[in-house]
Symmetry: C2
Subunit: 205 residues, 2 copies
């Protein structure tokens, strides 16, 4: 649909806005806009206003920087969560992913990215100072690094570990090994090697 | 991300609105919403308002029912287009597709769908009466059926052809044959059979 002559400027504007979204091309944008156009006015207004209202009213938790409707997010303010453990993640989606496992009962710290000199992101652009400040208060006993297993993720974990080296806090990292459901012959050598070195006791229960 | 516990009700609402779009699941919706959230307020407002404004202000051409910013669309009101030929299409996207070929200089008639008893769509739900009315005025000399090559498309063409049988108008249909770039052995038998029956003179120019 190169060089499409749109029959309406309003249609063209809406399609162009949708086509700016990641992974949405011109044809998909047109399909989405025409789909919305077939809905009634209230539905379209609910759609358009939901994102505007989110942008206007969104807050970030002053403790962990997770997205929130209140000053302190509902994880940080939940008395049944363990405040002595803090899991360091890159972004909000990682919080949701870990929460979905229902295997973690501590708190989080959302960095807002990882150190990536190629993209011009250094420690000052991330919520690292506030993490150090948080640890310095003494309540946290363990920091879990749950960052991407990439060079940038490893660099970020290493940088933070150096910043925290004078505090009496245990540092740990997510276990790395063969994914559940993976076939061994297709697992990469580094992962497979690590999973042999870090093998765990076999439990039948 | 089943049973995700959203950290923000506003976020949840926005994600749910995006996930209603065709082909957008919960994970993609989350990715799109978080992408927009990283943009500045003006960008987010431009996005949200573009679709609301389109829905509010959109018009449909009173002649061909194509989407338009004005009472009569810019194809129908273009004096350089041939008003004696009308191409009957299912929807607006088909108009854009044919316009993109730059091979057609006549006008259109957008039915707004095709006859599909399974979906409860009959002739009364489509712009067929207005097409007959348009032909009855005598200016149109040829009607081109450019509908899907499905049973529903064929049924719609047949129904319209019966409604127009008393008017002195030539009826034609898009050529059906082997697609440009297709390998012959993978072309279905019906298409290949038709393309032999409707073979055209070989031109070397």
């Amino acid at each position: 649909m190169a060089n499409v002559q749109y029959p309406s400027i309003l249609l063209e504007k809406a399609v162009n806005e949708f086509a700016k979204l990641p992974g949405i091309g011109n044809k998909t944008a047109m399909r989405l806009v025409l789909h919305l156009l077939r809905q009634d006015t209230a539905t379209v207004e609910a759609f358009g206003n939901s994102i505007i209202k989110l942008k206007h009213d969104v807050k970030y938790c002053r403790v962990c920087h997770n997205i929130s409707d209140t000053e302190t997010c509902n994880i940080c303010s939940n008395p049944r969560r363990d405040p002595s453990t803090v899991c360091v993640v890159e972004n909000i989606r990682d919080v949701l992913a870990i929460e979905a496992t229902q295997q973690y009962n501590g708190l989080y710290h959302v960095l807002g990215g990882i150190i990536s000199p190629m993209d011009g992101i250094g420690p000052k652009n991330l919520e690292i100072d506030s993490l150090v400040e948080r640890i310095s208060q003494g309540e946290v006993k363990e920091v879990i690094f749950a960052l991407s297993t990439t060079m940038e993720g490893d660099t970020t974990s290493f940088y933070i570990s150096r910043r925290l080296k004078d505090y009496p806090v245990k540092l740990s990292v997510l276990a790395r090994g063969v994914s559940v459901g993976d076939e061994l012959e297709y697992t990469d050598e580094v992962t497979l090697g690590r999973s042999i070195i870090n093998r765990t006791p076999y439990a039948t229960s």
